[in-house]
């Protein structure tokens, strides 16, 4: 089972000729992903790590049957690239690109939702279903096949927690890094809904952070809809209020979105909340 990406995933990498695209096309292959195509306008006919490069996603889809895209295109061209993927009929678009203007994110996400297309990101590390497929930049070595579903707003913190879980000989069904930008294609609730129905997933880890109210909304959702055990960690309990913590998700404003309010909401929904990330595996046992 697993969610969103699995052994049926046929991946096209948009921006495959760049440094990140080239590096991660190989890393994703090593993880087991079927990487079927790359796209770079004007470079049709070339190959990157033996992967054929096309002028457009449309060509890639027509020629290889790609159904999932991973976007490495830098911010100024990212909206175009993501919409090109949707136009070409791609079902899941994972946007790694950071610093995407929020208006572009709104545009991409609204189009995707109206088309039933799953967008993960922007500014996310991607998604991995160990033993099946990985789409994104998550390090291969931290994963272990298992039955814990992980959903996280963070990048490297996700690695930290997944790594801690794997070191304790527990594994993951799917790990989804949804990204911490203000507007994301997939939010906690979207992923929780899928984990709840996924047969492989037995327990769920939710990694949130201060800012926004999506953790509170997730808590509300868990209360009404999720019967599987959920463990959470909220980063930023001790972060100074009002400071911008590196990305846009992490602004404390209007007295909402604090770590306290999130932890309280989650605990009220029956979620065990870890104080520090390394406590997560303890709470899972």
């Amino acid at each position: 089972m697993a969610i969103i990406v699995d052994d049926k995933t046929k991946l096209v990498i948009q921006g495959i000729t760049g440094y990140q695209g080239t590096y991660h096309s190989q890393a994703m292959r090593d993880f087991g992903t079927q990487v079927v195509a790359g796209v770079r306008p004007g470079k049709a006919g070339e190959k990157v790590n033996d992967i054929p490069v096309f002028d457009s996603v449309r060509d890639a889809v027509n020629r290889t049957g790609a159904n999932t895209s991973c976007v490495f295109v830098p911010a100024p061209g990212c909206r175009d690239a993501a919409l090109e993927a949707i136009y070409a009929g791609i079902e899941t678009v994972v946007i790694i690109t950071e610093h995407l203007p929020v208006m572009d994110a709104i545009h991409i996400v609204s189009v995707a939702r109206s088309r039933g297309v799953t967008v993960i990101g922007p500014n996310c590390p991607g998604i991995a279903s160990p033993g099946k497929a990985k789409v994104g930049i998550l390090p291969n070595m931290i994963f272990r096949k298992g039955n814990i579903g992980v959903v996280s707003k963070s990048g490297t913190l996700t690695y930290e927690i997944v790594n801690a879980i794997s070191e304790r000989k527990m594994g993951q069904s799917t790990c989804v890094g949804i990204g911490g930008d203000r507007v994301s294609g997939t939010n906690f609730i979207d992923v929780l809904e899928r984990f709840q129905t996924d047969k492989q997933t037995k327990k769920i880890v939710l990694v949130g952070e201060i800012g926004g109210t999506s953790e509170e909304e997730a808590a509300e959702y868990i209360k009404g809809n999720v019967t599987k055990p959920v463990v959470a960690y909220i980063a930023g309990r001790t972060a100074p209020p009002g400071k911008r913590m590196g990305h846009a998700g992490a602004i404390i404003a209007r007295g909402r979105g604090t770590a306290e309010s999130k932890i309280k909401a989650l605990e009220a929904a029956g979620v065990k909340v870890a104080k520090i990330p390394t406590d997560v595996p303890d709470l899972l046992e």
Partner: protein, 369 residues
Amino acid sequence: MKLFEYKAKEVMRKHGIPVPDGFVVSKPDEIKSLPGPVMVKAQVLIGGRGKAGGIKPADTVADAKKAASAILGLNIRGYITKQVLLEKRLDVVKELYLSITIDRSRRSLIFMASAAGGMDIESVPEDKILMLPVDPIIGYQPFVGRHVASFLKLEPEQAKRVADICAKLHELVVEEDAELAEINPLVITKDGKVIAGDAKITIDSDALFRHKDYESLPEDLTPLEEKAKKLDIAFVQLDGNIGVIANGAGLTMATLDSINMFGGKAGVFLDLGGTDDPEKVKSAMLLMSEANPKVILLNIFGGITKCDTVAKGVLEAIEAKKIRTPIVARIKGVNEEAGRTMLKNAGMIPAYGLSEAAELASKESLKVV
């Protein structure tokens, strides 16, 4: 990027939103004549300037110079006033609130409006505020402005003007990539005009690549903040004594949380973003040494780069600046063991896990020297 009031009003005028006549000066002597009775307003990127004495009325040039002298240089909640805006005084009949911002949950823009303008919107009860999302697929349509005006219960003529301002404010937000555009108060004057009394605009800094005209705006940064910005490193000054370097916002915050668990306190932190680029790690180490913390805690979770390569960058930085601050270093990823050995040999305190690193750094920071 927040715009000063005068700049925000310039942008609003450009998009056809009525703003009072006025001009900005940085010295009282620059005031030569007035458009009539004015308000002299401190230009600072923080609220509460009224209470801090940053807004004064003036009827004559002499008055205005006096007011400007009093306000220029004023420290308003940590911000030094470098410019004042002199603006025609309005005959206020009513003060409304109107803004557009990002609605994260709905993933759209949202209008906020209230008949209780002029005060902090957070202190207005929720049922007195209209929250009206703009459906991104439908786009802005005239009915949105009509809904806002209808909620505010205005006379037909003012309702039309407010609806028109809504359309223009939305156009401004989209065309300028603003993440916030706020008019508070939106003033209805004695002669029936609707005009922006104050103006706040925040431009999405991620969108500056398509708004070259904003890039040159002055920003109040300390020299270290300036350097960090150039390196694309998030730099935050806190009040503890541990200097934290980590990669990624979440991991940085988790590192702070962990330090806190063990009684430590961060004094400054640098977030490299989601990268483990050795060059950036090196720059961060150099920057951190300038901030002069008691202990440095380095917490890098590797993705692309090998740990020994990252360690090499760290060692080069220490070498270059002769850094003698105790350093707790934790680098996670491929070739971890090799990296750790390198750091240990160079006199650093290596750690395996995040909590171990936090514990070691906290202990070090609590040592009485």
